[in-house]
Symmetry: C2
Subunit: 515 residues, 2 copies
């Protein structure tokens, strides 16, 4: 029987060498062939998934751009006039995965989003198969309703009444943060939509020095200008200092600028710090500023009864960014923008295009949510989250999130006990970020000072090069403020275990001890 | 053996009633269970694909939002604290597809994007499994290089030199059009990035009355204001009138406004018209305006040696939007923004975030293209297009596109020969749009005038209601300018055949003859 199977699969492969895309559906009587081709693809994907979860497999097999362009072992990326047979397409799929990065690998720690949730993946496969667009209820009825249900759960967790809240899923946290500036500006100055910035007084926005660059980017895109984004100081832990915020607001006012907007961060990108939301809310109320909370990274903690207190005060925000594709492990992308005023998104963004948003439909056209957005067509990002929520329940997310925080604590304790590692700031992790330097033996002999700093700055990049070339693990590094390059460890992958944390430290030491 | 199979699959279903998401990978020794679950999902998807391509199946099974919210035949959309077993998740997947819209159905004509390309679908399944992010080469090496290769092919087809062109894939045509305004503004006034619109003179933008609403939306978002988007008149066929463009530019100048930007359309949304690009380019050169071509819809014709002449002059544009997810049938979303100046996107958008775009990497960091974008994280939209291009070749796209244009011509001729249908404008289709009214017998007795117009305005919406309720086909309608509601037929689905066109006309007549 085993023999027979082999023969079958061989004959299958042989078949595809003479079969082309034009032989598949919608070509008549090609149902079986279409099934066979897609099952071959799925077989490749299932093998990849198993490898992804196997910590003994490599995280990546690094090659330089010019190597990929030249073609690796016959893997040609060039596109031609004539079609390739489906057998080649299957080989290309295998090669694409082979030379990629396994972002679900238990030892992939490079970004805030990692892991490969099986139910979320199933949801994304279905989304691709449904291949529809979020602009109207007409062509995406279930997905539009699922978005509403998800947003309601999220308002509830933020602490807003469903009757006053609104929101939309957007292509990433940076666009969600852009929405926050857009609606804050429109709320105060509705004439912006028709008259533009020239009808407005000089406005000022405030972010902390540890905030994500997306708020500045929004200021550049929206015609506000990055000079009008005022940086507020942080404490040693990376939290915005409320008294400095107030001072900066007063300074702006003294220059006849109109303080409009503050973005507080719940989970900063590098330190994983939570700004003091209640104190910031007090100041926003006092001076009439729009309070946005960028909880793209930390928002997931709202699912955890143990950790949600870290976001106390978020219920006082005017708007919130929350990316389920980060801490909650939803496949990329899945980002929600939430705003505590019904109708504002619609008023700010609607253009009432007649060809799309016909008012004379038979159903409740408030479900044609596409006119709330800055997009027209919009990818279905909600189904995978909805399906995961069904499959895990709120408690399932809680368990996963609590576990990642335990790993961060484990790493923090490990680092504290090892003399060749040094923490960037000595405080228990509030989120899963842990920032540290590896100090090679050669550096331990050098006294603190510019010479040591200069050498230390080169350590993390050098280790990272070796790490990528060996493909054993991936972790990010960066300088920050006056701190030279350090490693930023983050956990969001449910596949990661304590032994993978141990491995990371051993591996950094192995790769860096001769530096 | 057949019997045994049944038993197997039954025992599989029974199994999943006690299995939860937490039993799948990364849980130890769950490889087989994970495979089984995903194969069950794929089985559901393969059945859906077969139904999609079966013209005898319904396009949709319509329900109102409140019906979906109440739960249909036990299909509850509510989310709970506790997990549901995987058996329920599989049922939910089936139900989600059951109550959705089959956008790949041969009789689904509702939007510019339709069809379900099998290779594109396989590409999207792989993309979901790879689950990575386009911000850096580090974590998406192949996808970044594939984007470069695709963009080069597209520059070449537009008629630009690869050495001077640049581009990026974005989440949809509206965002691509927003990029065009953003870089046009930055090119002329680089101080916009830091100083904002208040440092700029009063600028004016120009679009035709048939252009897509996204350019106005961009003006609202970017702080330019919709009042500063000047509408240029079109001829009866929906093409921008160059002399009116010139007059409007001169008028703006006489008001001390700075004419900055024109968006010409290659394939308008409703009429499928091509603006006279060469004439518009002449005017842009004369007055120093940025010329953008919104070829989101019509760009696909560049793949056709027979039809590409309709875009003559596009090579003189400064920027182009081209959505492969429309005429080329790539799964949603896939939109390219192309600009004929290297480095401009980067200069306009970059923020040089240290945690992401480390300059001290071992590879050529010009491949870290994420800082060119207005996003941070970016979904991989290129792989499905790259895989389809490999599988079809340029010639394969050409064949499909030529076929959709033949269908439009077939419909045009059919309409011309039937007295109960009336064309909105009597000209051979240039793209696949065909606009027409159905005139029910009761209306044919009423003379032209406001009373008839009022009644005719209600015909298309009423037919659409019945069409959706019966679920047999879907086609869009809208009013436009002084024209009352008419049907806009578009073809982009390779599954559609002449008999489906015949069916549409018969069906409209059947549903509307008593009106």
């Amino acid at each position: 029987e085993e023999k027979e199977k082999d023969t079958n699969s061989e004959s299958l492969v042989t078949n595809f060498s003479n079969i082309y895309a034009s032989d598949l559906l919608p070509t008549r009587n090609s149902e079986e062939l279409t099934d066979q081709f897609l099952l071959e693809v799925v077989d490749i994907l299932l093998n990849y998934i198993k490898k992804t979860y196997d910590e003994k497999s490599k995280v990546l097999d690094f090659h330089h751009p010019h190597q990929l362009l030249e073609g690796l072992e016959g893997f040609s990326l060039e596109l031609h006039d004539q079609p390739e047979p489906l057998e080649q397409i299957l080989v290309d799929c295998r090669d694409t995965l082979k030379y990629g990065v396994k972002t679900g690998h238990p030892r992939y720690f490079n970004q805030l989003s990692s892991g490969l949730d099986i139910v979320g993946l199933a949801g994304e496969w279905l989304t691709a198969t449904a291949n529809t667009n979020m602009f109207t209820y007409e062509i995406a009825p279930l997905f539009i309703v699922m978005e509403e249900i998800l947003l309601k759960k999220m308002y509830e967790m933020v602490g807003w009444k469903e009757t006053e809240a609104d929101g939309i899923f957007s292509p990433g946290g940076t666009i969600s943060n852009l929405y926050s500036v857009l609606v804050a500006r429109y709320k105060r100055f509705p004439e912006i939509k028709t008259k533009g910035m020239q009808a407005l007084p000089h406005i000022a926005m405030f972010v902390s020095e540890h905030s994500h660059y997306s708020v500045k980017k929004a200021a550049a895109v929206l015609g506000i200008g990055t000079d009008n984004v005022i940086t507020v100081k942080c404490d040693e832990r990376g939290k915005m200092i409320p008294s400095d915020l107030e001072a900066k607001i007063l300074q702006a006012k003294s220059q006849e600028h109109i303080p409009l907007y503050v973005s507080a961060t719940a989970g900063t990108t590098v330190y994983g710090a939570f700004d003091p939301l209640d104190n910031i809310a007090d100041i926003c109320e006092k001076y009439g500023l729009w309070m946005h909370v960028d909880a793209a990274w930390g928002g997931g903690l709202l699912m955890s009864r143990k950790h949600s207190f870290k976001l106390n005060g978020i219920e006082r925000a005017n708007s919130v960014t929350w990316n389920p594709h980060k801490l909650m492990g939803v496949p990329l992308q899945c980002s929600a923008f939430l705003v505590c005023e019904k109708g504002l998104l619609q008023a700010c963004n609607q253009m009432c295009a007649g060809y799309l948003f016909q008012p004379d439909k038979q159903y409740d056209t408030t479900y044609d949510t596409g006119d709330k957005t800055i997009q027209c067509g919009r990818h279905v990002d909600v189904f995978k989250l909805w399906l995961m929520w069904k499959a895990k329940g709120t408690r399932g997310f809680e368990i996963l999130i609590n576990k990642t925080l335990e790993l961060a604590e484990y790493l923090y304790k490990k680092l504290n006990s090892r003399e060749n590692f040094q923490l960037v700031f000595d405080a228990e992790p509030e989120l899963t970020n842990v920032c540290f330097w590896y100090i090679p033996p050669s550096l331990r002999r050098i006294p603190n000072g510019p010479e040591r700093e200069k050498l230390l700055h080169q350590v993390a990049p050098k280790i990272k090069v070796r790490m990528i070339e060996e493909g054993t693990t991936m972790v990010s590094y960066q300088p920050h403020g006056d701190k030279v390059n350090f490693f930023r460890m983050v956990f969001s992958n449910p596949a990661t275990r304590k032994l993978d944390v141990d491995f990371l430290l051993e591996e950094i030491e192995r790769l860096g001890k001769d530096l």
